[in-house]
């Protein structure tokens, strides 16, 4: 059972102080976490080394401006950091980071991973919103009560993987009524325990999985069912897919913010998939008309074949979509089905190879023989 320490402070400031002391005592050389930019309410991930700058850090602020997994990967792309760093990530961001490490896009060594039982994040369009602060406090209330906050991303509302895997330290947030008085830190790994001394609190024997947590999970699973159903509109098959993606501008923002879409240059931005002018005539002949620019569906389906099996359902893609396509929900739906098919859980185990890169000789043996 993991070592647990109860800290008698508001969770946000408690974690803040913990990190601050790590930084000041130079146990770690830098903290990777959310930081307030300025008065306009914007927050963004930053690597912070100076205690002074750290004042602006807001580790648990419920926004995900970028998927931190992607950010950490760009930080450790060329190898491990020599100086120890602490990083505060949400469970899905952590899973994304693990997936990226599998693909040689990052390195976790010397990074102290701190995560939390996650109540979700607010949709990005609320960032910089005039009543941002009140929304945030509403959010924290729902976290305490282990309720699903309606202001959070759709993917967050139906996310049942809100307990981190592979975290060195876990902040127990969801379902703790006294979150603004006290909270518990779980030190899950030896690496994590090295730092337990810095946590000024009394060690307790608790399990992270409480009844509240499990009920919360159930609620979200139910919601998942619901949302997944909704993605299928009345008319089925291709038509429904066409309708869903009809507004798509082809801005490919979804792939740019997707942590799993790690390619430096996306194949679908390349000349390879440009529309060949020569086939215009025949296409018009058959169809009588043609959407331009065409190829949206190829992009989305193609992107699925590339990443859906590793989709961590972080919801970035939906949030950046300028035309409100429920990209995340659809990909997450396809993803979970693929993950079942290949018995694969993205972000669980760094050693486990990604399904595209491997196979078993004795799997799917019926296929091809019919």
């Amino acid at each position: 059972m993991a070592k647990a320490v109860k800290i008698k402070k508001n969770v946000e400031e408690g974690l803040f102080d913990f990190l601050k002391s790590l930084l000041e005592t130079e146990k770690i050389k830098g903290v990777f976490t959310l930081k307030k930019m300025d008065d306009n309410g914007a927050v963004s991930y930053s690597l912070i080394t100076s205690p002074d700058e750290f004042k602006k850090a807001v580790p648990l602020y419920p926004f995900m401006p970028v998927n931190a997994g992607k950010a950490l990967s760009s930080f450790t792309l060329l190898g491990k950091t020599e100086e120890p760093i602490a990083a505060v990530l949400r469970p899905c961001e952590l899973r994304a980071f693990v997936e990226l490490i599998k693909r040689a896009q990052g390195d976790v060594e010397n990074i102290l991973i701190i995560s939390l039982s996650c109540g979700g994040v607010l949709s990005l369009n609320l960032m910089g919103d005039k009543d941002q602060e009140s929304t945030v406090s509403k959010y924290w209330e729902s976290v305490k009560k282990a309720e699903i906050s309606p202001d959070t991303r759709e993917t967050c509302q139906f996310c049942e993987n809100f307990l981190p895997i592979n975290a060195d330290i876990t902040v127990a947030a969801v379902g703790n009524k006294d979150l603004d008085k006290e909270f518990t830190l779980f030190f899950n790994t030896p690496k994590g325990e090295e730092f337990s001394k810095e946590a000024s609190g009394s060690s307790v024997s608790e399990e992270i999985e409480t009844k509240e947590i499990n009920d919360f999970k159930k609620k979200r699973e139910e919601l998942k069912e619901k949302f997944f159903k909704e993605t299928q509109s009345e008319d089925t098959g291709l038509k429904s897919l066409v309708n869903i993606f009809a507004p798509c501008l082809g801005c490919h923002g979804c792939s740019h913010v997707c942590p799993i879409c790690y390619c430096t240059l996306c194949e679908f931005d390349s000349k390879t998939h440009n529309y060949p002018t020569s086939s215009l005539g025949s296409d018009l002949m058959v169809k009588g008309g043609l959407k331009v620019p065409s190829g949206n569906l190829l992009f989305h389906l193609g992107r699925m074949t590339h990443m859906a099996v590793s989709c961590v359902s972080c919801g970035m893609c939906s949030d950046v979509c300028p035309v409100n396509i429920p990209v995340a929900t659809i990909f997450s739906k396809v993803g979970s089905s693929l993950q079942k098919e290949f018995d694969y859980f993205p972000g669980k185990d760094i050693e486990e190879p990604a399904p595209q890169g491997t196979y078993k000789e004795d799997e799917f043996t019926k296929i091809g023989e019919q």
């Binding site: 830098g30 990777f32 930081k35 930019m37 300025d38 306009n40 914007a42 963004s44 991930y45 930053s46 690597l47 912070i48 080394t49 100076s50 700058e53 750290f54 602006k56 970028v66 760009s74 450790t76 060329l78 190898g79 950091t81 100086e83 990005l124 369009n125 960032m127 910089g128 309708n243 009809a246 507004p247 501008l249 082809g250 801005c251 490919h252 923002g253 740019h256 913010v257 931005d269 390349s270 000349k271 440009n274 529309y275 060949p276 002018t277 215009l280 005539g281 018009l284 169809k287 009588g288 008309g289 043609l290 959407k291 331009v292 620019p293 949030d319 950046v320 300028p322 035309v323 409100n324």
Partner: protein, 395 residues
Amino acid sequence: MNNNQKETKTNPKKGKILPAEKGIREEVLNIFKKALADNIFDALLIPAKVPNTDAYSWILLQDESLFDIADPLPPVMTVQGGRALSSFSKNGELDLKIAALMKPCEIRAAVELFKLHQIDLNLVTLISIDCPGAMPLTDYMNDPKKIGESFKKISEKWEISESLRPACQNCHRFSLMDGTASDLHIGLVGENNKVTLIPNSSIGNDLLEKLGFEPNDSLKEWESKKEKLVKEKTKKRDAFLKEWQEKTKKTDGFFNELNKCINCHNCMNACPICYCQQCYFDSQTINFKPETYIQKTKEKGALRFPLNTMLFHIGRMSHMVLSCVSCGACEDACPVSIPVGRLFSMVGDQTQKEFNYVPGLNREDPLPLQDFKEDEFCEVETPNECEEKVTEEAK
């Protein structure tokens, strides 16, 4: 490039005015129905509403039945028309006669892309239309019905409403300009329930002819109404420019506007002028070892992720701002509502003045950076020589 457009400039402007009992949209569509039926074109590039959805998108229209969903003045600008046109005409030779009905800013973008060989205009007839502006994309997607309605009202009254896209509120180039961009212009600001066709090139003339219209009607009505509107809007634009120049004067005001950026590059992908197959700033050609980043961090105390967002915006600006047509597509596409369109438009305005270049005005004007005059900007490096030169010329 089309040479016989030059003389059209000198022509005294005359056009054809058509009654539009069934409403302006209908009338405009009728013109093209006829054109297609008479095989004047093989296909028409026009916005359309995707059946069973609230979404709009560009279609190449050939089958007449599709006119039911076509809409010359949609409430939103989805993909910038220039981008749409180039998407199918840049990969090989176009062998179909195509008419493209687009907003003036889209026409301008198309012309810029044409100069960059991203569009093959040989068989394309560019047709511009007086543009009442469009609604912000996200607003519309959030509540299509309501926004759609209010757009109807706004567009009918040609009112410069606060609820229009900022780019449109500040747009003074919403109508035909004195240039060789479009072949035919469709004026709507004139008398109510009238559609005015203004040929703007020999191709435009031929087109009217083929349609059996004699371009003899005077354009006074339309011109005066247009001028009035242009004045108003220019005023509004100047105010906006002023305000924003102030805003961005104060230290890193410019950057503060951008500090929400999450590096999704939607702006770049929506921008018609960013025609690159793959953006230089996507191919993060320079990666550093973690130490280097930590070093950087230590210098400033903190290092923001994602990296290089500022580099991206400034860099992109340096690549395209001279051709920025202020269409606002970038701002529409920004998920964190950064006023990126206004920023770029403002900077564009300044730089374009420097080169006194109006993007998309004339097909013949070379791109400023593909062309230089030996004696321009000489003050930049050698003021003295410059003076000498000037004085010599004076003699």
